[in-house]
């Protein structure tokens, strides 16, 4: 069985998802795999077996989208309905599930790189499927794009998919010319 078939079976086995969401997620995962083929999808495969979709309460957390790594939940707020691109948001969820540890996603192991991690996820989702809707992270993406010129795109990419932000911190500190 190919790995994508395993992914399809995992989605099918998840009772929390409708057929529409299963098909949409699978379609986006195929695109993800084509655009970034070297990524190990085994973590994503595990997460897909139990992931839930839910509502984001403005009293719990602000914003329009959130992936809860602890509960393995993809949460959307009411404002989502008219202004946001669902393919883009689900692709972010796929990226976050693919890079999830028990407590964090991407390279944000201790919150130092929290906003950078969110923006880099947004940038990667843009790269994979684009974004037809609004983005809440335009300013953060601008700074992240700047930083990736300093740090190096390969360093950002490898740090994200290996859950290790230390090379980013080190590259930024190494770039502090003549100050320290």
């Amino acid at each position: 069985m190919s790995f994508l078939e395993e992914i399809r079976m995992s989605l099918k086995s998840n009772p929390n998802l409708t057929d529409e969401i299963r098909n949409k997620l699978f379609e986006l995962i195929v695109v993800f795999n084509k655009k970034i083929p070297d990524i190990n999808l085994s973590r994503l495969n595990e997460k897909l077996k139990t992931v839930k979709l839910g509502k984001l309460s403005k009293f719990e957390r602000k914003g329009t989208y959130y992936y809860d790594v602890f509960k393995n939940e993809i949460l959307f707020s009411k404002e989502l309905e008219s202004n946001y691109d669902i393919d883009h948001l689900l692709t972010k969820a796929i990226l976050q599930m693919s890079t999830s540890t028990e407590t964090f996603t991407g390279f944000n192991s201790d919150d130092r790189l929290r906003a950078l991690n969110l923006a880099y996820t947004e940038i990667l989702a843009n790269y994979i499927v684009g974004n037809e809707g609004d983005s809440d992270l335009e300013e953060e993406m601008l700074v992240t794009n700047l930083l990736s010129h300093i740090v190096g795109k390969d360093t950002m990419f490898n740090s994200y998919f290996t859950n290790n932000g230390e090379p980013i911190i080190k590259a930024m500190q190494d770039a502090e010319v003549g100050l320290i």
Binding site: D111, N126, G130, L142, L146, G152, E166, K170, E176, I180
Partner: protein
């Protein structure tokens, strides 16, 4: 673990980015205020890192060069590293980067 020293430029930038993200989430900043913060922070960072500005006076002098909240394009050079700074609109374009074609000397070349 690489230690964080609170007055290092890189730490300041990362902490500012986190604070800005939190402030946006709470609706504490307008779009214009955000654009101004990014313009200042981005250019300050580019300078601190690329030119090695050492004094507050140098930083302040540079800040005066930046148009107030307006879209603009700066390019800084330090050795062979180009740091290009653009508008929020260009950031979205830049975010659609093509990893295969990206080189270390990539430059955002569109001017509004």
């Amino acid at each position: 673990m690489t230690s964080i020293v609170k007055d290092r430029p890189s730490d300041i930038i990362l902490e500012s980015l986190n604070r800005m993200n939190a402030a946006k989430l709470n609706g504490a900043l307008t779009k214009d205020e955000l654009a101004k913060i990014i313009t200042l922070e981005g250019s300050m960072f580019a300078n601190l890192v690329s030119r090695g500005l050492k004094t507050e006076e140098e930083v302040e002098d540079f800040e005066k060069e930046i148009p107030n909240g307006k879209a603009n394009y700066f390019s800084f050079e330090h050795e062979d590293l180009d740091v290009a700074y653009g508008t929020i609109k260009q950031a979205n374009t830049a975010a659609l980067y093509d990893r295969e074609n990206l080189t270390r000397h990539s430059r955002l070349s569109k001017r509004l």
